[in-house]
């Protein structure tokens, strides 16, 4: 069965510092890959997605992610974080057809230090 692993439950970063959130997936083929962000009491907002083509994808709010097939990874990055980036971040994978829904990781809680 497919699975998504986000190895870091919590990450603390100073404001203005760079950020990398890790995501690994287990699946026989290249899945559709997504990063979502969830602020307290809110639903999920799509940051970016990867389907095919260029392995470096740009998203909203200055985020980017790189797909590495050899490592089955899809890590999220941001060059300089802002206090408003504090939130829960979820990596998710979807499979052809979409009828099985998205499989989410357990999330990484991002804390921004002043």
């Amino acid at each position: 069965a497919q699975s998504v692993t986000q190895p870091d439950i919590h990450i603390t970063v100073s404001e203005g510092a760079s950020l990398e959130l890790r995501c690994n997936y287990s699946y026989g083929a290249t899945p559709y890959l997504f990063w979502y962000v969830q602020s307290p009491g809110q639903g999920l907002q799509l940051l970016l997605k990867y389907f095919s083509g260029d392995t470096l994808v740009q998203g909203i709010k200055g985020f980017e992610a790189e797909f590495k097939r050899s490592q089955s990874s899809f890590n999220l990055r941001k060059p300089s974080v802002h206090w408003s980036d504090a939130a829960e971040y979820f990596c998710a994978v979807g499979f052809s057809g979409g009828a099985d829904g998205l499989t989410f990781g357990k999330g990484t809680h991002l804390i921004i230090q002043p």
Binding site: G43, L44, L46, A92, A99, D100, F104, K106
Partner: protein
Amino acid sequence: DAGVTQSPTHLIKTRGQQVTLRCSPISGHKSVSWYQQVLGQGPQFIFQYYEKEERGRGNFPDRFSARQFPNYSSELNVNALLLGDSALYLCASSPGTGWNSPLHFGNGTRLTVT
């Protein structure tokens, strides 16, 4: 444009009771999906409906059911509530069923079972 709207926002029920959660998709979206998010975990897929038909179902017991109406709104029903059903229930809509149409999530319904 209005996003995905869910009602109610919060709900408290007693074990053994039944609950109905409602979702209105973004205008023009024909697919609605439901996810359960237990505290501290990533969302877990429950159902997908498209054009009023069930297109996918996650690993949830038969106590969970859903339907989609001609206006594409949807209801999620849970019977014989258990304490473990306490969670944030998220509805998401998309124009179609493939992942080229990413999901747009509502803010969820927080269900507490006592």
